[in-house]
């Protein structure tokens, strides 16, 4: 497994654990009220599990398992995928923490922009790797 996939997948596992902790607190709070702060966990819970866990895991597995090139860098432009990793995590943290602490709307907008750029960067990286087996200019594909 390449280093970037290790980073993406381990980060996603950390978000899974954190998101499940928040979910458990919110669910338990319905029966054993823990205080008004619990409701502030909700946007963080959703952001961590939807983008931090699910989307990031998908990116990590895709970077690892999509067809590689026979010529040149075997996984293509890795810098774009590293940029996606940095942007996605920045975006998730800015959106989640911003919502939890009641930051101004510009924080949420900035975080969403980072997430959008992460998606664009990863798509630009992965696009040439998604092709019919053995097809593609100057580079064959392998599992």
């Amino acid at each position: 497994m390449p280093k970037l996939s290790v980073c993406l997948i381990r980060a996603s596992l950390a978000y899974l654990a954190a998101g499940f902790v928040m979910g458990a607190i919110m669910l338990a709070d319905r029966a054993l009220p823990l205080g008004g702060w619990v409701i502030r966990l909700r946007p963080m819970h959703i952001e961590f599990l939807l983008l931090g866990w699910t989307v990031q895991l998908a990116l990590g597995v895709a970077y690892w398992i999509l067809p590689r090139f026979r010529a040149g860098a075997e996984r293509g432009r890795a810098s774009l995928a590293w940029a996606a990793f940095a942007l996605l995590n920045t975006g998730v943290l800015v959106v989640a923490v911003g919502a939890a602490v009641g930051a101004p709307p510009i924080a949420g907008l900035t975080g969403r922009c980072a997430e959008g750029l992460a998606a664009a960067a990863f798509a630009a990286h992965a696009w040439p790797r998604v092709k019919v087996f053995g097809a593609g200019p100057g580079a064959g594909a392998e599992g």
Binding site: L16, F20, L27
Partner: protein, 124 residues
Amino acid sequence: MLYLVAALALGIVAQTPAASRVPLLRAIWPTYIHLLVVGWLTQLIFGVAYWMFPRYSPEQPRGSERLGWAAFVLLNTGLVLRALAEPWHSMTGRAGTALVASAALQLLAGLAFVVNTWPRVRER
């Protein structure tokens, strides 16, 4: 697969005209979301990751089988308990203990999966 079917069936029920009049049906929205996202999507990921992630060792290719099974049992017990207790609690204010138990079971399932999967995610 069962959760996917159950969640989409609940989604259909939630869109019927009766849903706005019957208290039980008004309370199923969180159940619908969690059956779909935890029961189907997260559990599908757990299953595929357990199957295809790099081997932990020749003797224990999938890490601890016990932890893998624990994640499966805890997640499903917790989620089914939640699916039953959450609408009941919304309507009557009862079943609080079941909700807390459901929260603990699902949390333990997630942690069991993370603990078992973490060492398998590594550079070759």
